[in-house]
């Protein structure tokens, strides 16, 4: 049984400063997690009765899932819309999606008051509850992603298991369609959670269209994270960046940003929301709409920016940041609890979130090294050779 075929990148296995920092964060996070489990949420977080949801819900859960939307976006592009030219981006997208959902599940586990009951929605049903649907979809989709990674793993480690590979090839369309369907449902339903509390939110985000808006912005988040991940990976693993392909993907990102902008403007206009006001929610709103939707869309219009590495970094960075900011605005900054209460995350909340990000990067790196994520023939410092998805 072959292990690794080659060194995936020069200097692999050496402890670099970056990795040391990630490991330290992970250890800190584990200690924080132990403290949280022993002493409870009240003692370790700054959450209170007026702010029952905080950093963990806004970042780990809402932003994490939106940024992990690349998996289903690329699956849809390649298997449903037959855009085969993006095939080399599919496997990294699946890996990053799986890592993103892992962050979600671990983050949610520690956020629950009774984490050991995380399985309750499986047997205790409330079909009226949007959160019930979200928990089922996330559960099923994480399983789909795990199976997809398992199939990828079989390719390298599955000699003698050809019948398995054949079986999975046969059901693959089913998996792909299930993934797209489940993602469409829960990405939009995460927004629909906020349908119940429009009065508690700033009018800028309290809309009946929050579900579709969440879906489109998740597609934006997914595509920008794929771009970022591809650029960073090619730098870290010393491979030529796939600028041409990413510039093409950028066109898709541009269309998604335009659709999102049109939806936002239509929604605000239809509800007659006061936009030109200067206060804290509006500041966040302007940054979100103009800084992270309009600006990257404009940058994408210039081919010389779209086809440069630096330009792509900026475009996808801004767009991804915008999705995160939107999730914070909907769930935290735009939420008005009791006026006498405020909320700012505690050190433990921040450490555990940082540790989750470190965990995501480390697992992603592990996956890149031990799974055939990139097409065959694309060896270290080698020339890029197209392969099958």
């Amino acid at each position: 049984m072959a292990g690794k075929i080659e060194k995936w990148y020069p200097g692999e296995g050496k402890l670099t400063t970056g990795k040391a920092v990630l490991y330290i964060l992970l250890v800190l996070g584990l200690s924080a997690a132990c403290i949280r489990m022993f002493f409870g949420l009240g003692a370790t977080t700054n959450l209170n009765d007026a702010y029952p949801w905080g950093l963990w819900i806004s970042f780990d859960v809402l932003a994490g899932v939106a940024l992990a939307a690349g998996g289903f976006t690329m699956t849809a592009a390649i298997y449903i819309f037959n855009l085969k030219k993006f095939a080399p981006l599919l496997r990294p997208a699946k890996l990053s999606a799986f890592v993103g959902y892992l962050v979600f599940v671990v983050g949610l586990f520690f956020d629950l008051g009774q984490p050991w009951r995380i399985w309750h929605p499986m047997v205790m049903w409330n079909p009226h509850s949007v959160l019930f649907e979200v928990s089922w979809c996330v559960m099923l989709y994480t399983t789909v992603l795990a199976i997809e990674l398992f199939i990828i793993g079989l390719e390298r480690y599955g000699q003698g298991k050809e019948s398995w590979i054949k079986f999975f090839r046969e059901i693959y369309l089913f998996l792909a369609v299930a993934g797209v369907m489940l993602s469409t449902l829960h990405q939009s339903s995460l927004g629909a959670l906020f349908l119940l509390l429009p009065q508690k939110m700033s009018a800028l985000w309290a809309t009946q269209a929050v579900g579709p808006l969440f879906f489109v912005s998740a597609v934006i988040g997914g595509m920008s994270v794929i771009t970022l991940e591809s650029l960073i990976a090619s730098r870290v693993y010393r491979r030529p960046p796939k600028i041409g392909m990413l510039a093409d993907l950028g066109k898709g990102l541009g269309i998604a940003l335009l659709i999102y902008f049109a939806m936002k403007v239509t929604d605000l206009y239809a509800r007659g929301t006061a936009v030109w006001v200067w206060d804290k929610p509006h500041f966040f709103f302007f940054v979100e709409l103009f800084g992270t939707v309009v600006l990257p869309a404009l940058l994408l219009c210039f081919p010389e920016i779209r086809r440069s590495e630096k330009g792509l970094y900026w475009i996808s960075g801004l767009a991804a940041f915008g999705v995160v900011l939107n999730r914070f605005n909907v769930s935290l900054t735009g939420y008005i609890g009791y006026r006498q209460f405020g909320y700012f995350p505690s050190a433990i909340e921040i450490i555990m979130t940082a540790a989750l990000v470190a965990m995501a990067i480390l697992i992603f790196d592990l996956g890149m090294r031990y799974l055939p994520i990139h097409p065959v023939g694309e060896g270290a410092l080698g020339k890029e050779v197209g392969g099958s998805p």
């Binding site: 009240g42 009765d49 008051g113 649907e133 979200v134």
Partner: protein
């Protein structure tokens, strides 16, 4: 038939016997009283405090200063947002009136606290094994044929326990008898789909400054949970539509690519 409590705040003297009765029956720890500009003690509802009285000193148009006392607790909505929100159905509206909570089901996600338009469910933050707590409408006492603890102890008849329909008739009778004494609307009759707590007040809730402490008046007459349920009713359709569309487009695009590959290339 559904039970309710009519709270005629014009009769309340702010003695807080209801708070004490609630604590005794539910076996809740006593809290430390503190001074604050609100006069109310305690200042907030919590997992250890299911009901409290909001104190209000209002200057009337004729220059008189008047004290008003408004009991705050779970409204026991007819169609509760918390029950629509809860993913594990830990919160349920009983046909007899109370909105009850099942300790064994709750996972501690706190979506009920986000969803409740009256900001009622409270969390046991101090516990490592926390649960949600709120007024139970003494569902346990009602099951034994007893009235809720607070209503049995109220010395002035502010809290009147009975059938919701009858209490509404009574509330409107009182308003009709003395229109100068009461604000002409019963808070809880229609708001958020109607609640099992019905409030008679001398002034509007805005004038009493109650919208700041959880008694919202901007909720409309539709229950909050309805929006979530409408969304959920569309989910099966969306699932089938997206799934069908995905499969259809897959074969359509495959076929198109196959035909394009076969056709001679025109330059």
């Amino acid at each position: 038939m559904s039970k309710a409590i009519l709270i005629d705040t014009t009769k309340c003297i702010g003695c807080r016997a209801c708070q004490v009765a609630c604590k005794s029956w539910n076996d809740l720890k006593g809290g430390q009283a503190t001074f604050s500009e609100t006069w109310s003690n305690p200042r907030y509802l919590s997992s250890n405090q299911y009901t409290r009285i909001v104190f209000r000193e209002i200057s009337r148009p004729d220059g008189r200063l008047e004290w008003y006392f408004i009991s705050r607790r779970c409204m026991h909505c007819l169609d509760p947002a918390c029950a629509s929100a809860c993913p594990v159905a830990a919160l349920v509206k009983l046909p007899s009136g109370p909105v009850v909570y099942d300790d064994e089901r709750c996972i501690g996600c706190r979506y009920c606290m986000m969803a409740c338009p009256f900001q009622i469910p409270k969390f046991q933050w101090e516990s490592a094994v926390p649960l949600v707590r709120k007024c139970t409408f003494c569902a346990d006492r009602q099951a034994m044929g007893l009235a809720p603890a607070c209503t049995t102890t109220c010395p002035t008849g502010t809290l009147l326990f009975g059938e919701r329909a009858e209490l509404l008739t009574e509330a409107h009778r009182r308003i009709g008898l003395d229109p100068n004494k009461y604000y002409p609307q019963v808070y809880g009759e229609k708001i958020a789909g109607g609640t099992s707590k019905l409030y008679l007040t001398p002034l509007s809730f805005e004038e009493l400054g109650l919208t700041q402490v959880g008694f919202r008046t901007d909720l409309g007459d539709a229950p909050q949970g309805l929006r979530g349920r409408e969304w959920m009713s569309k989910v099966p359709l969306v699932a089938v539509a997206v799934g069908g569309l995905a499969v259809g487009l897959h074969y359509f695009n495959q076929r198109r690519a196959a035909i394009e590959a076969k056709e001679p290339k025109e330059d």
